[in-house]
Amino acid sequence: MKLKNISFSKIIQDFSFETTARSLAILGPSGCGKTTLFRLLCGLEDFQGEVELPSFTAAFQEPRLIPWLRAKENLSIILGEKQAELWLEKVGLVEDGKKYPAELSGGMCQRLSLARALGAPGDLLLLDEPFSGIDLGRKDELKRLIRNKKKLLLITHDPEDALDLCDEILLVDGPPLKIVEYFRQTKGIEQQLEESLRRLIIKNKEVSHDTHNHQ
């Protein structure tokens, strides 16, 4: 994966990064430009710069299911009949295949959205905060399915998800989006990452406090 001099409005300016890692997490506080980067990588915005990515599939923050299609149909239009059945089973929704999205809970919809991304062809899985509304037990099961996918790029604000799923972690801040620190999975990474994240949050709070006082 290679990003070279990426710029998009004021949110991302001259952002570059290159890695051969199998899985990468982009970890940072809300509103720093992570989701904008995700949209650029998905090809949903016009931007300046170069991106080199293998073929990919994606799951968004929201499930984005077609409301008039049943759960299984939402999968089968992308994956085909057989794969749809298989993935419904893998994410524990076999019995809910005939339900419409409005009849499913938020977590169930999110699982369906993940199943769609996991089952679709593509070498890289792009995920933007994929676990919102999913309970802990299910989360571990889904993480196991995600690890089986060849390559992963995870956008998250949760250090635990990043540590569980990725070989490399980029701690970012912004806007404009910038890399604060780079981590590779080694012994003791948890403490280092936690410490850096804590420092970043304290720094951001101080900045926002100062700005507030000046106003």
């Binding site: 998905c42 090809g43 949903l44 599939t57 994606a58 968004f60 929201e62 984005r64 077609i66 409301p67 008039w68 299609l69 149909e73 239009i77 992308i78 769609r116 679709a120």
Partner: protein, 239 residues
């Protein structure tokens, strides 16, 4: 004060009865009883049903054509902005030119049998056009993005997304078009003297000064229009 539909209709009939009494000339304004008699007389004649059926078929053909071509143009205009702008004059023209001008032109181009179908088509097509275009413009951007990310083919997008989404817009357009379709079709039948048509019967009522017949045929027209509207109305469903 709240007035129920029943009392509104009752008041209307009362007004009609009183007006007919005051005019006291069934040539100008037949009373409800005379109209009812004319209606029963019409319904007792077998040939009346042929006229009703043929007129209804013409309206349905015109509406069907308008639905197909209007939707197609609407989808194209919505998806490709440049084509939408290019076609805008045609849409405005169809919406503003008086129906009579089109009827006269159509009489020159087509035989009298084709005119009502063509006029119904022409008058209602812009409604379907606008509805389909609006459905595209108001489609959920997040779902469109999702389909782009998964590289869904155009055919699949149409089948799974655009057509079911546009259905509610097109059904509403259909309900809005039915009344206009009947008005336009019968006006065209009257002016082109179409054989086997309600319009022709209305024209004959005028010629033979049988005003009660004219009222009765008009009533039948309202009933047919209402029935067609109800038929589609039941299908309407919102997501």
């Amino acid at each position: 004060m709240r007035i129920s539909k029943f009392w509104a209709w009752f008041f209307f009939f009362l007004l009609w009865e009183v007006s007919a009494l005051l005019v006291h000339n069934s040539l100008f304004l037949p009373n409800p009883r005379e109209t009812l008699e004319a209606l029963i007389h019409i319904l007792q004649k077998g040939e009346s049903y042929t006229f009703l059926l043929y007129s209804a078929l013409r309206v349905l053909l015109g509406l069907g054509g308008a639905l197909i071509l209007g939707s197609l143009l609407g989808f194209i205009s919505g998806m490709k902005k440049e084509i939408g702008i290019l076609l805008m004059p045609l849409e405005s023209l169809l919406k503003t030119v008086p129906v009579v001008s089109f009827i006269m032109l159509a009489l020159l181009w087509l035989g009298s049998r084709g005119v009502p179908i063509f006029i119904t088509f022409l008058m209602t097509m812009p409604i379907f056009w606008s509805a389909a275009e609006e459905s595209v413009l108001k489609a959920d951007v997040k779902l469109l993005e999702m389909m782009d990310v998964f590289k869904l083919s155009f055919r699949k997008k149409m089948k799974a997304f655009y057509l079911p989404w546009a259905k509610q817009y097109l059904l509403l357009a259909f309900r809005q078009s039915v009344g206009l379709a009947w008005k336009a079709a019968v006006a065209a039948e009257v002016l082109s003297f179409t054989p086997l048509s309600i319009g022709r019967k209305i024209q004959e009522s005028k010629t033979f000064l049988e005003t009660a017949d004219l009222f009765a045929w008009t009533f039948l027209l309202l009933v047919l229009s209402y029935l067609l509207e109800r038929l589609v109305g039941r299908e309407a469903k919102e997501y």
